[in-house]
Structure formats: C-alpha cells, structure tokens
C-alpha cells in the first residue's frame, strides 16, 4: 500500500463517474486527502454536463452505468477535440462484458481494487500529482 500522502503543489482535478454512491463518495474523500479537487457524476450524461462546465485533469469512470455507460462516455470525450487528451481510467467488476477494444482509454482497473492501485495509476498519468 502506498502510504505517501503528498498533496501536489498544483491541485489536480479529478472527475469520478460511477452510479454507486459509495464508490464516488469514498474515492472523493480519499482523493481529497491526497490534495486533489474532486467532482462526481453518476452516469455518462451527468459526466458530460460536468465536463461542459470545466475540464478535469483526469476522468475515472465505471463502465456499467444507466443512461450512458462508461464506454460511450469515453467515445464522446475522445471525439471532442477540447477533451480528447484528458486521461481516462476505466473500471469494472465484469470486464468481460464490455468491448474494451472499441474505445481508447489510458488505464483499466478490475473492481474491487485497493485505492492505492488507483492512486498509482493516477500518478503515472499525472506526473507530479
């Protein structure tokens, strides 16, 4: 486990997208302890609305969600030149149920996972975070 709590000089912004509130609330608390600013959304549509307001440095999204799933969100983000370069971490408890080859993402985590693994993946994508 990574015990290094080192709030970054610059406050990186993360958008967490998951329909399970315990995931969004827990990750929010933990990212905030590590110095990130966090916004949350419970599906792809809410996430696009949040992205229209301001762009985060990184998106962490579940795959299986109602209204708009994480893969479609991923496609929409990549298709928009303003957002196309935002790193995306996808996560799912059932990766075999998704055609992950159909989208471009930066990292994938199979649920359940420890927060330390997510933090490691985030820090690889956001050097200095």
């Amino acid at each position: 486990m990574d015990s290094d709590v080192r709030p970054s000089p610059r406050r990186y912004a993360v958008l967490i997208v998951d329909d399970e509130i315990d995931i969004t609330s827990t990750f929010s608390m933990l990212f905030e302890v590590h110095g990130f600013s966090v916004r949350t959304a419970s599906n792809g549509i809410e996430a696009l609305a949040a992205l229209a307001e301001s762009l985060p440095d990184l998106i962490v999204s579940d795959c299986m969600m109602p209204l708009m799933d994480g893969l479609e969100l991923c496609r929409r983000v990549r298709a928009d030149a303003a957002m196309a370069d935002i790193p995306i971490i996808l996560m799912s408890g059932a990766p075999d149920r998704h055609d992950l080859t159909s989208v471009t993402y930066d990292a994938f985590l199979k649920k359940p996972f420890l927060f330390s693994r997510l933090l490691t993946a985030v820090r690889k994508l956001l050097p200095g975070a």
Partner: protein, 486 residues
C-alpha cells in the same frame, strides 16, 4: 485444531486458537466486522489480541476509541496477557481517540478523521472501540446508514480489515448490523451458579464459518475458542476406515470368550455397577497395549492418576514405569466446571501428538456432567467416538449403572451409535453371597460365547470363569441400564 481451507478471498488469520477453524480459515480481509457483546464479554480482548498478533506479523494496527476505556487503562489491562508486547505500542499499534471529532462534527467529521488516519497510517487492521457512541450521538437512521455504508466502502477500498466493538446483543435490524460484512457476538451462558463464555457468528460474508455457539475462555494467553466439537465433525464429514483384526483386551480368559479380543479401532462400553471392576478391566486393556509397545492414554474424572497407578499395582500391573517414560499418559479433570470441548481437544491433541492407539475413558459420566447444555450430550459423544474411529483408536469406555434401581431404565438409543461392543458387568447374589457376572450385550464382528461368565478379581488381576456358577437373578438393587441422564 489446524485445518486447510480453500478460499478465493484473501483471509486474515486471526491467530486466536480455534477461531480460524470456526471461520473456515480466517476473516476475509478488508471487510467491516461488528464484534458485539455485553460488558465483560471479552470483545475488546478478542479484537486487540488479533491486533497484536497482526502487529507482530508486521501489520500496522490502529485502535480508535470513542467513549471507551482510556488508552492507559486499556494498555494496563492488556499487559496481563501474553499476547501484549509493549514494544509494539506506538510503532505497530497506534491508539487514537475519535470522540472529539464525533462530538464536534458528528458522523461526517468522524468519517473524515478515519479517512485521514487510514491514508496516513495505512493500517492493515482498524479497531474502533466504543462504537455504540456513534448511535448515541443521535444521528437519524438514514444518516447512520449512510455513515455505515461509507465506512464499509472506505475500509474495503483501503484494504483495511476493521472491527467495530459495541456492547449490544442480538441480530437486530439496525444499520450497524446490516451494513457490515460480519457480526460476531460474545455472550455468557449461566446454568445454576456456573457460567461459560460463548461465541456466535451471525454472519461473515465470504467465509465458510461454522454456525451455532462455541465455548471460549479468557486465559493468561488471551482468548481461546473451542469450535463446537460436533459441528467440526459434521463439516469434516470424514468416514472412518475399517479394521478386521482383533486386539487383546488384556485378560486371556476374556479374550477366549469373545473370539480373541475386540476389533481394532472399535469402541467398547464397560457397563456396570459402581465398584464392580470396570476400571480394573480398563487398566488390563491399557496394560496389554503397553506390553505390545503401543502408546496408550487414559482420560479420567474421578480417580486421580496416582490412584489409578496404585490400583493397577495392587493387581500386578505396572503403570508407573510407562507413565514415567511417556508410553502412557493420563489426562485427569475434575468433573465439575471443565469445558467439555476443551477436554475433547486436549484428548485428541494428545492422541495425535503421541500416536495413541489405545484409549481408556474412565467414566463417560464425567463427560456428561460437564456439558453445560444437556441436550448436547448425545451428539457430542457421537462426535467424540467418531473422532476416535477416524483415528483408529481402540477404546474402552466405562459407563456406570445406578447404585439402587428397581427397574431397567429407558433404553438408551444413542448407545448403539456410540459403541460397537457393550459388556455388562453386574453383581449377582445367591445364597452364598455376591458375585460379579460378565455378559456380552453386543459384540460386533465377533463370534462369542453368549453365556454369562463369572468375573473374579484377585491380587493377580481379573479372570473370567466359564460358565457362570450363579443361578439366581441379578440383585435388583444393582440392576439398571445405560442412560442418557446426567
């Protein structure tokens, strides 16, 4: 009490004797558990014993107290236990109080404190003592449910196994019980003036745990739990092997009557009146095993080891030498307040460690008298003899008839499951006096002489005559039958 279990979930081995066996290998890691029980039930000791065991393995342990014992008092109490290691305190085992956060900022601030602690300390185990204070801080039911849900998610995401300690009882439908992954209850059971400690698992998600109650003790080494003997046997479900050879009972004239002895690995009941010679028959059986180089064990409740050795000496059997050199062991317990599962495990551990092949249980009544739940006795004894059959231990067990009984007691339906062989030894009376008579009531796998025989005890031991010279009926004052009674 070691067992191998298959689990796809990573398990935290508690290190508490007997507990991992009950849990099916251990507690699923990173889960949230409620350890509940009224004051003095041993829940803080159980949790902190697991904590110090984990700390000794290199895990960081965080003990967060709300309204509970002060840290100094807690440490002082723990210092009496062998699991306590002062060198770990402050390094591997850290104590914090969370009450200030709870009282100032409610559940949100407490959750924030726990989040910060888990992030900074990275403990593998978190113990929250005095968790009842969370409910007593008067949140709404919804707020408490949200807190429990968030806490469960947090500890799971951080991979931190967490114990919440609360002084309540029962499987109640409150969020503290429903939104945790496991509920373990410690309680006390009274019978008359006697009291025993019991542990019950209401639920452990992802574990193959044993249902029902298990007795535990708090000793100088901390908590020692005895998985309920019959539940362990049921889960293991091991079929005993079969033997076809015979072993001598140590009395040649008796061997002759029963076709050469009893089948190896069988269980034989010596049923008879007090003082009729059952114990001496058992000592002959043990002496025969020792002469053949077997490791032997006696489990007794009434006659002390010294008394048994002296009793054997008076009929020419030397048990002192094998007792001194380790070929013979005698486990003796007063039949008063011993824990029956403890006695059983003590006996089986001795059998396994010394590779015992002959066992003499002198007084099954001793086992029955220490059962706290009388309804357990039949199934416990079936599990016990099953464990002996699985190990192939040839066993003699004495069972006493009442001193004075005018009629035969109700038939004991469990006797058939317990014993392959039943020998009845009773006093009979004729005009010349009292005589001992030996009858075979049941003898599995043998041809035997069904006639009653006279049994004679002299300074040279026991001999069995043929045929019985007594013609009168058995003395009704000594007549009885095996009974399930206490």
């Amino acid at each position: 009490m070691n067992s191998a279990y298959n689990s796809r979930i990573t398990l935290l081995q508690t290190g508490i004797p007997g507990f991992d066996e009950i849990l099916g290998g251990g507690l699923p890691m990173g889960s949230l558990y409620l350890i509940q029980g009224l004051a003095g039930s041993g829940k803080t000791t159980l949790a902190c014993q697991i904590g110090f065991t984990q700390a000794r393995k290199g895990q960081k342990v965080l003990i967060l107290t709300l309204i509970a014992e002060s840290h100094a008092k807690m440490l002082n109490h723990f210092s009496n236990f062998s699991f306590f290691d002062e060198a770990l305190v402050g390094e591997q085992v850290t104590f914090f109080s969370g009450y200030a956060s709870l009282s100032k900022g409610g559940l949100r601030e407490l959750l924030g404190l726990i989040t910060s602690c888990l992030t900074e300390q990275q403990p593998g185990l978190l113990i929250v003592d005095g968790f009842r204070s969370v409910r007593e801080s008067s949140p709404s039911d919804l707020a408490l449910s949200e807190f429990m849900h968030s806490l469960n998610s947090l500890v799971s995401t951080m991979g931190c196994t967490t114990f919440l300690i609360s002084p309540v009882e029962g499987n109640i439908p409150d969020s503290e019980n429903t939104l945790v992954d496991g509920v373990i209850e410690l309680s006390q059971h009274e019978r008359g003036m006697r009291l025993i400690r019991e542990l019950k698992i209401f639920k452990i998600r992802g574990a193959n745990h044993l249902l029902g109650k298990h007795v535990f003790e708090v000793t100088a080494d901390g908590v020692v739990i005895y998985p309920r003997f019959e539940a362990v046997a049921t889960r293991a479900n091991i079929a005993p092997g079969a033997f076809s050879d015979y072993v001598s009972v140590g009395i040649p004239s008796w061997d002759d009557k029963i076709g050469g002895g009893v089948v190896r690995g069988s269980i034989t009941c010596l049923l008879g009146s007090p003082g009729v010679g059952k114990t001496l028959m058992g000592l002959h059986f043990i002496d025969e095993g020792l002469r053949r180089g077997e490791k032997c064990l006696v489990l007794g409740f009434y006659e002390s080891p010294q008394s048994l050795v002296e009793k054997a000496r008076r009929i020419g059997l030397d048990l002192a030498t094998p007792l001194a050199n380790g070929d013979l062991a005698i486990i003796w317990n007063l039949p008063l307040e011993a824990v029956i599962d403890s006695v059983a495990y003590q006996m089986l551990d001795n059998i396994d460690a010394r590779r015992v092949t002959r066992l003499f249980i002198d007084g099954v009544e001793g086992l029955r008298s220490i059962v706290m739940h009388p309804e357990r006795a039949p199934s416990f004894l079936i599990a016990l003899v099953h464990a002996l059959r699985v190990r192939g231990v040839t066993t003699f067990i004495t069972e006493q008839l009442p001193y004075f009984k005018e009629s035969i007691a109700n038939a004991n339906s469990s006797a058939s499951a317990l014993y392959e062989n039943i020998m009845l030894v009773e006093y009979v009376r004729n005009a010349e006096g009292n005589y001992r008579q030996l009858s075979v009531l049941k003898l599995r796998e043998n041809d035997y002489d069904s006639g009653n025989c006279q049994m004679i005890i002299s300074s040279n031991g026991i001999t069995v005559g043929n045929p019985a010279i007594i013609t009168s009926h058995a003395d009704p004052r000594h007549r009885g039958h095996a009974s399930d009674g206490q």
